[in-house]
Assembly symmetry: C2
Homo-oligomer: 460 residues x 2
Amino acid sequence: MPALEDVLAKIDANQPAALERLFNLLRIRSVSTDPAFKDDCRKAGQWLVDELSALGFEASLRPTAGHPMVVAKAKSGRSGVPHVLFYGHYDVQPADPLDLWETDPFAPRLADAPQGQRIVARGSADDKGQLMTFVEACRAFKESGGLPCDVTILFEGEEETGSPSLPAFLEANKAELAADVMLVCDTSMWDRATPMITTMLRGLALEEVIIKAASRDLHSGLFGGPAMNPIRVLSRIIAGIHDDQGRITLPGFYDGVSELPEEVAAQWREIPFDPKAFLGDVGLSVPAGEADRSVLEMVWSRPTCDVNGIIGGYTGTGSKTVLPAQASAKFSFRLVGAQDPEKVLESFRAYVRSKLPADCRAEFMNHGASPALQLPFSSEALSRARRALQQEWNKEVILGGGGGSIPIVGEVKRHLGMDALMIGFGLDDDRIHSPNEKYELSSFHKGARSWARVLDGLAD
Amino acid sequence: MPALEDVLAKIDANQPAALERLFNLLRIRSVSTDPAFKDDCRKAGQWLVDELSALGFEASLRPTAGHPMVVAKAKSGRSGVPHVLFYGHYDVQPADPLDLWETDPFAPRLADAPQGQRIVARGSADDKGQLMTFVEACRAFKESGGLPCDVTILFEGEEETGSPSLPAFLEANKAELAADVMLVCDTSMWDRATPMITTMLRGLALEEVIIKAASRDLHSGLFGGPAMNPIRVLSRIIAGIHDDQGRITLPGFYDGVSELPEEVAAQWREIPFDPKAFLGDVGLSVPAGEADRSVLEMVWSRPTCDVNGIIGGYTGTGSKTVLPAQASAKFSFRLVGAQDPEKVLESFRAYVRSKLPADCRAEFMNHGASPALQLPFSSEALSRARRALQQEWNKEVILGGGGGSIPIVGEVKRHLGMDALMIGFGLDDDRIHSPNEKYELSSFHKGARSWARVLDGLAD
């Protein structure tokens, strides 16, 4: 097993080349939700297979009903060492609205900022930059004599669309993917100086609703008045989901939502967190969630319903006096604790139907559903990883919650019975899913160093 | 003055050529609301100037701040005859959604239908087919010896966008456009056998609202809960505009709305009108307007508020877990009686602002406003036109209301003090503003014959 100092020095020396490699990956337009980018997704997967093969991994692209998986395996050559399964995703969010990007989202560049350089590109932080921190740590070990643990890597290409192919793939490849612990790099640090291990994750249920009224678009002069407008129906549905206290009104929605254990609640109260600054950063000032909850609870441990998109009628320049035949909206539910995604969706669909006038009908399209996840605070791997991160960052590690869902964690728990250590180096201002997404150069560099320390610590 | 029989025979003989001329006009993509079609609008105007010049009119294209006007003048050569101002519009609605058209909206064709042939194209009924009925009537008079009245023609290119340049143009050209009565061909028949003269028109106020919340799009995992979603705000605004009885809740909205005179109400009760069939034709069954009003009142004499378009967030294929920074909707108000468009818009804007959370702001864009119009039932021109139409169609003429607004009528009343006879040959199933718009061949042919009879009747 190589000396940790040698591995860290190798990572430092490799930085310029590592950045070039990441840029190559960022140039590939692997937008998973849009069928137009199907070939690009495959190309990103193949690029990773080639990189890992070159490092001595036994790597291959595995077909699914959707975008392919990357699976790569390498042994430490030592017995009695832990076996880790590392997970990341090579797909990215759509880049639109394109006109808000300062430069081409798929032409990565380094930009100067007061706190250091940053990498600007779609996917720089979510998740290509993050997954490459682990690949670069593995490279440094390989170049220094070998890996300290047995390593299996799984990269998927459908994380941004709710990971539809993941459950079947895990079930079919259970034996091959079995390991002692999963490592996931798709989360954030507490701040640029403070590492965080994410111990709870909200689940996610995605449902699109199309409200249909007349059999065709109508002239609002001829039919305005007697003809029901589906935009009006949809608006009433959306308006009725929250009460004036920000609570969600769907029957049974809060079933399975429990209060935080007091020790965790106490830790969160101690965290230096300024809700005003958190909202102020994005131009907001009034928390919109449940009136009796802290903002940290709202994003880490409380469920939500949001509308991610709405469209109906004429949306071009100027006006058009049309009564549209239909209107649609994309809803998402962030789930916590033991909320059952299917029950939430059933309650939602029943609510939508209850709000339909006799003339209208609703069509539903599901875009994925995964429950929330809570990791045990007592695991040995967690203590070792905490220690390793503390050494790299010289700062107490925060055990936090995650607002976004990472389907892999729940699916691996369900199919492989494995817990996950979620360690990531993103920052809250990385603009993931937004124009001008960036990843700090320090996240990329110290992220790789952190993984080297974690692998070393797990094998110790 | 030529014998009416000769003029009618000429119209019959000219039919094949008249249809070819109309097709040429329909091929021009004169969509006024979209700046991309600016040149096409000009081209349509110029085409009409050329046609009218060839008929011996003194015709020219007149610039405005928007699309140009066509003005054409011809004298009867006789003294003591009435002078009519004929109005139509050469602009058309956008053709989208394109995928619902059976054929190219700008490649006009004749289609067979059980009740006869029809002309299918964007603008066939609204308003190119209609305005050409008058041009063809003029042609037949010219070819038979001369016009029976002095005729001024005004074609505009901004009717579908609320006629923004019209008021200033009328004011600046008052003297030149002065006439005894205006003739407008932009309305419908009662049914395919029954002519109608429209005596009241709803006004129209168009207002777009943009609700802005965060300074950028947000990840719903990171910010879902505490961050206000502008789609939710917009939905609450839309949902609150109507009460459960279909009445509009904006303060002062019904100021200036009066009840119908009993004689008109009685005439309307006698009209053979089946609300179930009217709504059933477009796949609806439940009148959505004020619960205590008939469907005929809802479209002819009652005001409305509708949403013609809404958009916000991600609207592509699949899902995107985004909280959008903004959402917008296009509202339209149909106005009646003495409702003041400006007061309605002021009340609406105040209502929108009253529904904004502290974090959000609203931006407003006005797309035009015109009041409703009511014509006197006692005019001499009205009786002559009724008689002329009755002779052509051999059926009692219905004096109806119009649900859609025709800005010219109000503006001409205001600037030139002239009343308008609104006579049109469209049918309710013409799909104006919708895919597969059509105009009956019989409307086109008998429309031209009707105008010949009306001109002859007015001059008699």
